[in-house]
Every structure is written in structure tokens, then in C-alpha cells.
Symmetry: C2
Subunit: 351 residues, 2 copies
Amino acid sequence: MKNNKISLAEVARAAGVSKMTASRVIRDEGGFSEKTRHKVMAEVDRLGYLPNRLATVFAGDKKSTFVGVSIPELGNEIFAQLLEGIDRKLVAFAHQTVLGMTEHALDQEEAWIETVLSWQPAGLIVTGRSHSPRAMQLLKGAGIPIVEIWDFNSNPLDMCVGLNHFDSGYSMGRYLGELGYTKFGYVGTSHDTANAASSRLAGFTKAAEDAGGTVKKKLLLKDVPGFYTGLYGTEQLLAAHKDVDVIFYQNDNMAVGGYEYCRRQGLEIPRDIGIAGWGDLPIASIQPYRLTSIAVPHLRIGQIAAEMLLAQVNQQPIKRTRDVGFKLIPGSTCRMQLKPDIDETIDHSKT
Amino acid sequence: MKNNKISLAEVARAAGVSKMTASRVIRDEGGFSEKTRHKVMAEVDRLGYLPNRLATVFAGDKKSTFVGVSIPELGNEIFAQLLEGIDRKLVAFAHQTVLGMTEHALDQEEAWIETVLSWQPAGLIVTGRSHSPRAMQLLKGAGIPIVEIWDFNSNPLDMCVGLNHFDSGYSMGRYLGELGYTKFGYVGTSHDTANAASSRLAGFTKAAEDAGGTVKKKLLLKDVPGFYTGLYGTEQLLAAHKDVDVIFYQNDNMAVGGYEYCRRQGLEIPRDIGIAGWGDLPIASIQPYRLTSIAVPHLRIGQIAAEMLLAQVNQQPIKRTRDVGFKLIPGSTCRMQLKPDIDETIDHSKT
DNA sequence: ATATGAAATGTTACCCGTAACGCAATAATG
DNA sequence: CATTATTGCGTTACGGGTAACATTTCATAT
């Protein structure tokens, strides 16, 4: 574990040229002879020289090639995919992702923003539109491209790509209402943040009320929205409100867990109760049933976010807001529609 | 989007002190009066000064607080959890994760290692034990703590935490053999790397042969090991070898997809065919059946890796290798055992 | 008052590359 | 052959902090 920190100066000395010449050769910016190139590169290989990018950024008073990317959690595969989409694109354009997991907490986000800004990143991608006052101030003053993703916002700090979660919740609520459901249930998790899932619930509740129904909620405090949570959240919801006739879940994984709980209780789906998820996750289409859900282009959101950011870094013009929309997927876990005129897939996708 | 780059010098000038005094106040390293502290901090707040950590690292010729973490992919929730475990621990100790997705390709890993080393990271955590020759050389010469995770290796480059994948495959093979299976199948994905899944398959094959059986394989080239892959991989395997009586999958998600394929074909499980997964992922226990699988402490591997690395950074003594073991989970997707003496859970966990 | 040590603050040099500019050697041109 | 471009390479200064050392200020003891 020897520390082989070879500096440019050492390479230059070994090659018998000045630092500047060595620098030119290594960056291949021209202005040197072939003979010199060989001498220098030979020493680079022999000594195992690795440039110190800190110094490079520092020297030019430039930005680094870091891009800070904050997401709430990785356990939730939706966010993992968002991150994957972002990183793929960033790497393709020679940038690096510095991860920030906020765990849905604004103060964690704020602390991360402060830290990551101190590394002179090329830009930031943050999940969600709500930030602490100080975080807002830091973001505004950062002087670098910022992309807010996930929850679409027509008036972003800088740039934004996502979808309207309220509308997606409303859309599901109206659809279920049109199927004749009136006693709606909702099972999700809850954090101290006004997040995207809250918007969906708000939209869902609005639609339910517009349809003359009610919504019974079960919000599991600070829990992970996964299979288990869906299972025991359903148990708790039904224990308190046994007359619920359809349940909308925060995401598909919870819905699959909820489905399994109902099945174990001997409930037949969709005869006895309807189940609807959100996200159209892979699990939704590999079950013996087809889960009613809302499809969202996760990976694309990530890719678009990275594209926006890189365009901004390279001073290329770009549309600063993108609403990617969503798509309601009717499934076999809710009763068949009563009205024949809504037979087709309900598509709110945007190009 | 103004660039508000306030430097320490400007803060110092505004406060009427030298850079050095301002620096001391900001780092709270003592040697200044209370009055001075107030003057300086007032200017820090007023000007919105954010220290430039690049300069700090650069000045002291120190390491940064970056830790490079490479994983093959994020779509696979096992790796997402590994990353989550790592990042949680790192953040708790004021370090930041720089992400590297290798997509199972050694050349991508190599390129990432080179890039991330140029940022003077405090350490590196890499998934897997096989690296390109140049990557090996870079890692060895880096002079920083390196933790290889996932595939346990008693003779690591520097440090290592994981489990013996060969043994876990062998364990499953022997278990299934003891249940009386002889015509084994395997469905997984394949990449150009000798990875952990390959080791599992090798162990599985060895056990199958020891039990006097054979293994029919279906390896999907460069695909993601998820539900779909499991479904159509099973279709392909059974099309080529219809007499297979038990299938071992690369992971639980693939196994659940395979289960669903068999169900759709009218096969009854475990009467007509056995299904075994790997990883004991959440989905495995939320299905109507209990999937036979192998449980692995994903999150703990990540946490231990980060702990090892941080200990090394802080020059604290630490055990350099940790085998976390695994645990075979008998389920309802394989036939009941023939011999009564292996009734209990087979535990290879290590503390 | 004066000496003395501690506390507070300032000065200088440096980390490692690169931009900007200068100069010498070589090649092209009249 | 003299003049002018071009090429190849070197010198200097700088970025934003901090270590190490120097100096001033202040409180306390003599």
C-alpha cells in the first residue's frame, strides 16, 4: 500500500522537459514534437502517472465533472431506476455521480446539498420540489444547472422533468369511480415531507369526492413502501374499515403485498375487493393477475434529467421543463367497467 | 444563476482580518478571540460563503472524503441494497459516495477506477474479485483502502467482505439432491465476467454431479436478472430440456418469473417441477408460496464494507476479511425431503 | 514600569496543474 | 540570403485554502 503519488513535475523531470510540455503531451493539445511525445509518454507509463483532477479543476477555476444526484432511498426500485437512468447518461458524457440519499428528510437533503456544493460540482439533480429554505437559497446561489425531477413543476428553480402526481392520483380515482367503486381505501407510507406520493393521494381523494365517494387512509409512518408494508398496511386498513371496496396503493409493490393479504384472508379479487397500484413495476405483470396501475417512464425521467443538465453545462439551448406524463393501465384486479365508453387504455403520456 | 463564488480572501477582507485568521475561525481550530469569531462568522453568513473543499484537499495534499463505490447495476435490487448499506454508513461518517456502474464489464470498471482515482478518493469499494490487469495495477498502487465485496476472497487485494458463492450454489445443489432431484436445470444471465453468479452455478454443478445428476443450463446473454428474464428463460430451458425436474435460478426474482411461467403452462409446483431461487428477496415471502432460496445479508455486507474502509482511513485496526455466510431456506416450491434427518434450516451463517 | 509568557493574528510558501505569454529554433517565403 | 511565419518548448503567475513560522497584542507577575 505504498503511496505512489507521482506528480506531473516528476514526469517532466524524468523526461527532461518542462511541466508545461509534459502537460501538453498528456492532454494531447498539440505544440510538441513526436520525439517529445514519446519521451513523455514513456515516463508516464513507467512511473504510472495519474493526473490529479483536483488540481486541474482548481487550476482552471472550473467546475468538476461531478454531478450531485439526490434520491430519497434505494430500497424503492423506482428511485433505483431513476438513478440508473441518470448515471448511464452522465457516464456516457464523462461525468460522475455523487450520491445523496435523503431518506425523505429535508434536513438530510440540505446537509447533502451543502457538502456536495463544496466540491464544485458541474450540476445537481434533486428529487422532489420541496426543499428547506436554506436548501433553496443554496441551490439558487450555486450558479450551476439544477434539475428537479420526479414531481413536475412548471415553475422550477432552474429545470424540471417529471409528471404531475396529483393528476395521476386523480386519474386513478376517477377511473375507479367510473367502475362504480365508492368506498375507496388508500395504503401508503408517510414521511415528514410533502412528497409526490402525498400529491397522488390528494388527487385521488379529490376524484373520490367528485365521484361522491370517501377515502379511508392508512399511512404507515416512516416505513419503506414495499411488499410487507403493503401486506400489513392492508391488514390495518381493513381492520379499521372493513367496508372498503377498492384500495389504491402508493406503489405496485405495496399493492402486490396487499393482494396477497386479501388472498390469504379468503377474499376474491376483484369480486370482493379491488386493488390498484402505481408505477407499473415489473412485478405487476408477472403475477397470475394483471394489476391495475399507472405506468410511468422511470428510466426516461432519469435520462432526460441528465440530458438537460449536460446541455446546460455545455451551454446548449434546451427546454427547461418536461412533463413526461403517465398512463393508466386497467388490469384484472378491479372490476370490469360499467360504462362501455372508456374501454381503451387511458393515456396521459406526453412526448 | 449568478455565480456567487465567494472566496475565503473576500470574507477575510470584509471582516478585516487575514485569510489565515478567517480560516481558523471557520474550521474552529482555536487561536482567535470571541470578537474576531463574530466578525468573521457574520461575514460568512452575509456573503453566503461556502468553502471550496477541492482547495482544502489540494492544499493539504490530503485525500478527499469521496469513496468510490462500484456495483454492476442498480436494476438488480440486491446491488441497490448493497449500495444503500454502504452509503448510509459513509454519510454517517462524513464521506460521500461516488457511484460507478460497471454493467458487469471489466473495461467499464477499469475506466471508472482510473477516473475516480484521479479525484483523490479516501478509498474504494468494488463489487467482485475479478478485475482487468490494469485495474489490478491501479488498485494496488492507489495507496488507499480498497474493499472488495460480494464474493468472499480470503486473499484480497486489501480487504474483503462477502460470502462464498460457490459454496452457496453447492449447498443448494446438495439440498436438492437430498430431496431426490436428479435432473437439474439452471436459468441465469451471462456476462463477460467471471462473476459471483458463475461461481454459484459452478458450485451447483459440482453438487449435482456429486449427487449423480446433471445440470441443463440456460444463460441469457447480457440480460437483467429480473422477473421477465426468469419467465422467458424458463420457457427456453424447458423447450430444450423438458425432462428437467427442478430449476435453480440466479436469483429470486428470476425464480418468481419462472414459477409464473410454469403455472401458466399448467405445471403444478412442486409436484411437476421444483423451483429454487437465491437471495431471499422480499418478493420470495410475499407470494402465495414460500420460495426455496438462500438468504444473504445484503445490507450488512454494505455496512461492514463501509466500516472496514472507514476504520482503515482512520488507521484503526480491523480484520481485513469477513465471510458473512448464507442460509438455505427450504420452501414450498420444492418437494418435501425424503430423508428426515435434514429437517431443519441449513445455516451457514457466520457471525 | 518592566519583563515574560500566552494568546491572537499575520506572513510566507506551497500543493499541482494550466493559461498566458515569451523566446528560440526551424521552415516557408520573397 | 534576409525576412517573416510557424513550431516547439520554457517561464511566470495563479487558483483557494492551510502548515509552519513570525510577529504583535495582551494579561499577569515581578
